[in-house]
């Protein structure tokens, strides 16, 4: 699939060496006072992500992002998705747009990509299990797809659905969760400029374990809201079902905004471990995107609508 400019694509093995390389590079730049560019020898210009990095944040490595995953369709362990997803084939891929829209249709991912602009988005990802990462995504605004879908005025929410292929996704043969995985957003959340559909990370097409070929990324919500391997986008007039909030409604709400004041029986939401760091960090309201998104929830009791 031609989702990313070929000039931006870095061979997979380069990423695996990236951490090592950066260490060497920074040592070299310290040794000589020359302004040594870490990217001079690298086919992808990593400095382009720097301007999107918040102070104190550092990108997680490709290895961390692609081998430590929650994607229960491929198993419950963190390394299961990277180990068990090789038989999953995301090509070709089409997405159904249905529900309260002018006209339902299916669109090939390739055709969809031609109609949108792929951008770099460096976001923090905060898992409800109190760990977090910083990920350089590639993707496009969900609002762009909503525009193409032409929803009716009566559409107030969107539901997303993950592909159901138990023969390729071993976890779907077990029924600890109701399959297929579904998630939802309120229309204004979906239209928010931070909300993207991602097609890649680190300039590389999404790997199967990260939700190939198309996944949602909503950086101010817990990671499980960012549904993977999407095959259907449904416009509805009521709050749709979402897998985790159906399974354990007292633990996971529909909104599931990152919120350190909403208590969870298993994990502290006051602090988090940034993968790669030893000391925990305090968890920021809306995962640090408070300024951008808090207006969406004005007047709502977030302890009730968690």
């Amino acid at each position: 699939m031609n989702k990313i400019l070929s000039s931006e694509v870095t061979p997979y093995t380069n990423y695996l060496n990236r951490r090592k390389f950066i260490k060497t590079a920074s040592a070299a730049s310290l040794a000589s006072s020359l302004s040594f560019s870490a990217n001079a020898l690298h086919s992808e210009d990593l400095s382009k992500y720097d301007k999107q990095l918040y102070e104190g944040d550092e990108l997680n490595t490709f290895e961390e992002i692609t081998t430590y995953n929650n994607f229960y369709e491929f198993g419950m362990g963190k390394s299961d998705p990277s180990n068990n997803s090789s038989s999953f084939n995301p090509n070709p891929w089409s997405i159904k747009i249905e529900g309260l829209v002018n006209k339902s249709f299916s669109i090939n991912l390739e055709d969809l990509i031609k109609k949108v602009t792929i951008e770099d988005r460096v976001y923090r990802l905060r898992c409800v299990e109190a760990w977090s990462m910083v990920i350089p995504w590639q993707g496009f605004s969900l609002s762009k797809l909503i525009e193409l879908a032409q929803p009716l005025n009566s559409a107030k929410f969107i539901q997303f659905e993950t592909v159901f292929r138990p023969e390729e996704m071993s976890g779907q043969n077990k029924n600890f969760l109701p399959w297929p995985y579904v998630e939802g957003l309120r229309m204004d959340e979906a239209m928010h400029p931070l909300t993207i559909l991602s097609t890649g990370l680190y300039g590389h097409d999404l790997l199967n374990q990260n939700g190939a070929p198309l996944r949602l990324v909503v950086p101010w919500k817990y990671g499980f809201k960012s549904i993977k391997s999407i095959v259907a986008i449904r416009f509805v007039d009521h709050q749709p079902n979402a897998t985790w909030s159906m399974t354990a409604p007292s633990e996971y709400g529909f909104y599931s905004n990152v919120n350190n004041t909403v208590h969870h029986p298993r994990w502290t939401q006051g602090t988090e471990r940034r993968i790669g760091e030893f000391l925990r960090r305090p968890t920021l309201m809306f995962n640090g995107y408070e300024e951008e998104v808090s207006h969406l929830y004005k007047g709502m009791d977030l302890n009730k609508f968690y």
């Binding site: 430590y68 077990k174 502290t268 006051g270 602090t271 471990r273 993968i275 925990r280």
Partner: protein, 201 residues
């Protein structure tokens, strides 16, 4: 029939074998070979091992009720103390690695999160068992009293199993298997106590 002598001879080997995993895991942790989120992995491994050892103590104890396996009794103290060693490491991992001695935070965690409350309670209840584990203590307390104290192990077991059950996110199969074993062994004990010992059978 297995002789006590044989059991006593194998004790050092059993001890080394049981301690070995902890050395390996700590070594892997220090050398950075315990995965992307090593603190969680180490804590999980130690916790799982603790629970399995607790169950093993109970199984060994039950097996030693059979006449020809009676000598297995001699292993119970060793197993019990190794179990405590793993639980202590598990707790240390939580206090030191996970929260770096942030006791104000930990206290809140213990109160607010039921699975941590149960785990912590289990640890506390294990302490009297550890302190009364010497021969001297058995003598001092008399065997009858000592035995009563050591019935606490059943409570600790249940706390451990529910601790694990509550922290499991989706697939509860493993904690339920442990629960099944504990309940089974518990009923075996009750059955023996009330029916066999009273001469019903």
């Amino acid at each position: 029939m297995i002789s006590s002598r044989l059991i006593n001879k194998t004790k050092p080997i059993v001890l080394i074998l049981l301690l070995l995993p902890s050395f390996i895991w700590v070594g892997m942790f220090i050398s950075g070979n315990l995965g992307i989120n090593p603190i969680d992995i180490l804590m999980d491994k130690l916790g799982e091992m603790s629970l399995r050892l607790l169950i093993l103590v109970l199984i060994i104890s039950s097996l030693s009720q059979f006449f020809f396996l009676r000598s297995l009794q001699n292993l119970r103290r060793l197993l019990g103390l190794v179990t405590f060693y793993y639980i202590f490491l598990h707790l240390t991992c939580y206090v030191f690695l996970d929260h770096f001695f942030n006791f104000a935070f930990i206290l809140k965690d213990v109160i607010k999160r039921p699975f941590i409350t149960l785990g912590f309670l289990g640890f506390i209840l294990l302490l009297p068992l550890v302190f009364t584990s010497t021969n001297n203590m058995v003598k001092k307390l008399t065997f009858k009293v000592w035995k009563k104290i050591h019935y606490l192990i059943y409570l600790v077991m249940l706390l451990g199993v529910f601790h694990f059950y509550l922290l499991t996110k989706a697939d509860k199969t493993e904690p339920l298997i442990y629960l099944g074993i504990v309940i089974f062994l518990f009923f075996v004990r009750i059955y023996k106590k009330f029916f066999i010992h009273r001469g019903v059978l």
